[in-house]
Assembly symmetry: C2
């Protein structure tokens, strides 16, 4: 494409994280400094919002540095998110025609989409349609997902903060569980349907805090109740306070989720099988097998929205990668995803560059074999060494009246403001 | 009792909190400065540890200020805890005889017990036995409980930190839930079996952050499904992202817990009724009634162990009340519980004094009527004004390698050290 002057639009898509607004602040920051970019628009609820012309103007809202800083420390997606998937390419598809008529109306020449695997699929399809139709636009994806399962990048923005939350919370939970002398098993369920990156972060306190879960089970290995019971039995012989980290996505060798069928035929008021979740299923199984005190804890959405405990490294990198996306677009590139390459382990250092969007879209990156121990019930030191630098550093969270200060974007559409 | 020179012992009892070690650090600090106190012992796992002579020496471990400071920011009970209840007074009861023979062996003249309602019962019984038997000892209770349900004090150490965690997390959860346009109900279950103090803290962000759960249900009001469904229906008409805070202790008018019977006869592998928990029960009920996306979130043990987000006010007061307990003992008092009196609302200020232990022991303080709205589905502004100052202030948590630094007490018993 030619480098032309025009407007930019930014959208957020997929599940919220503690760092997706830091990336948004980085893109805004970069775009405000670019002479080629005039107006900066926010797509409210991503692609879904563009189709409904819910487009808001951002320049005025971020005139001062304090607003950008507060945005970088706000959890969730400040522009709203969506889970819309675009159809396959077809020149006359009404969705694409509508999308591009609106992009043209707003003279959008720079399109930034911050999201996970599905969102990179959107970036790939949008840029392909534009190229095929000869619409001059630079479409750049910026990865974000706590799941860390996007291909082509060392890690994803958002993962470091979730990993820090999980590691810090695991340390706190282990201290909490250690206070009584009565044998007890605590099972902590961590997010990650297909990849065990988040669950692996439970091991991080092992290196410098001297505590870790007794066992860690990732979805990369089939789950087997007999091995699990042997593990728990051995742990209960060592000490009374057993703590186990499990991924929500644990599956048996036959592909069934562990959380699917533990209540042995229990049905809800509609007669549907009661899905109790992985932690609850294992809780019931341990109670049956050992008869001891058992408890399950889900870190649930706190692990993705606890921005007060975000990783300093993650937030700084998330801002940087947003700025780099703008630089990439200004070079006239399109159909790219921004990515991190780890160029040094000690000291930890990353370089940011762009990769072809097709490398990233629709693939899932699993935890590699070298990061899982032979027994399949814990992670290796190499895994901890990979995760630890991503959790390092603390943010300077601003508090008022005892609570973190968040930034709320005014999402009033341009169309409504014009009317007024 | 006469004021005599001797040794002190400190025990922790009941559920862990983010502030119980701050109180421990305050007692140690006070005892180290007291010329009347020679050795400072820690009872490992409270009364249970004294009976087993698991008694460790603390003086040497806290020679420097950094150790006391780290202890004050460590979650859970660093000395270990117990849930042992002492029998009623009987001069020849073997448990009391054993307890006092060990106290005499260690020349214990100052006994500090940090705990909740049950622990104050222990303080009452111990001091009564000592008085009846003419054993010279000052027995002082220092309250701690996230539940805030101890009588005779404006609030309890530990509550402010839990309330801050709940308020901050609620703000983050509400941001997280706001990103999609699809109607969804999120039910957040908060601790508190008999009193709604913790659940009420979910309302705190309303005052300065502009967000709050749509509804808050406390155990002080009977729960009724029809009113609940009307509330949810009204909320779904206002906006798509409904967030509701519920106490784990919600009960129907007939006294049954809401979490007891929702799975309509579902039984576990032993044929026991499946207790799904309050949040899960309401999740199933909303799904049945409205057919929309529903999710339940339990703040679980994180709300009591998240010391990284402890309240500055709570930690400072917890240290102070520990020091005050020592001062009280040095005045020759016994059978007392330390208590806070709020002497000013604006600016917030408390005074610490002692009350008779019998005032506190075995009573539960509920959320008063003035703090609950007429409909029984939210709290009043007066309630928020009561809670907010307890959450204020941030601690200077020390981090190393990305994680909070905790202090681990060496619990080796004196008897083993003497052998070595």
């Amino acid at each position: 494409m030619n480098i032309i002057k025009g407007n930019a639009i930014i959208g957020q898509s997929g599940g919220p994280t503690a760092a997706i607004n830091a990336t948004l602040s980085g893109v805004i920051r970069g775009a405000m400094q670019a002479p080629q970019i005039d107006r900066i628009y926010g797509a409210v609820n991503g692609i879904e919002g563009i189709l409904a012309e819910r487009i808001t103007e951002l320049n005025g809202q971020f005139a001062d540095e304090a607003a950008l800083d507060a945005l970088a420390h706000t959890p969730a997606a400040a522009l709203g998110s969506c889970r819309k998937k675009l159809p396959a390419y077809a020149p006359d598809d009404p969705i694409y025609k509508k999308l591009f008529s609106i992009l043209e109306k707003y003279n959008i020449r720079y399109f930034f989409y911050i999201g996970g695997n599905d969102s990179m699929d959107t970036v790939a399809k949008l840029s392909y349609y534009a190229q095929m139709q000869g619409y001059d636009i630079s479409v750049i994806g910026v990865p974000k997902t706590i799941d860390n399962d996007v291909c082509g990048t060392d890690h994803t923005p958002g993962y470091g903060s979730a990993a820090k939350y999980i590691a810090a919370t695991m340390q706190e939970i282990i201290r909490d569980c250690a206070v009584y002398t009565v044998p007890a098993v605590t099972i902590v369920e961590i997010m990650g349907r297909d990849a065990g990156w988040l669950t692996a972060a439970a091991a991080v306190p092992k290196k410098y805090c001297g505590v870790a879960p007794d066992y860690i089970y990732l979805p990369e290995r089939p789950f087997d109740y007999q091995s699990f019971f042997s593990d728990v039995e051995a742990a209960l012989k060592r000490h009374p306070n057993v703590v186990i980290a499990v991924s929500e996505g644990l599956r048996h060798a036959d592909g069934h989720y562990v959380g699917e069928n533990s209540q042995s035929g229990a049905v809800d008021i509609f007669g549907h099988a009661y899905l109790s979740g992985t932690g609850r299923s294992l809780e019931a199984a341990v109670k049956q097998q050992f008869g001891c005190k058992v408890r399950s804890v889900e870190l649930n959405i706190m692990q993705r929205c606890a921005s007060h405990l975000a990783s300093g490294t993650d937030i700084a990198e998330s801002i940087r990668v947003g700025q780099a996306a703008v630089a990439c677009a200004l070079e006239g590139k399109t159909a790219k995803m921004m990515a991190f390459a780890r160029v040094s382990d000690d000291p930890y250092a990353v370089e940011i560059s762009e990769i072809d969007i097709t490398t990233a879209a629709n693939h899932v990156r699993a935890v590699p074999d070298a990061f899982i121990n032979d027994a399949g019930n814990h992670v290796t030191d190499a895994c901890i060494d990979y995760i630890l630098p991503l959790c390092e550093g603390e943010i300077a969270m601003r508090y008022e009246h005892g609570l973190p200060v968040h930034f709320v974007i005014d999402k009033t559409p341009v169309t409504e403001k014009t009317k007024a």
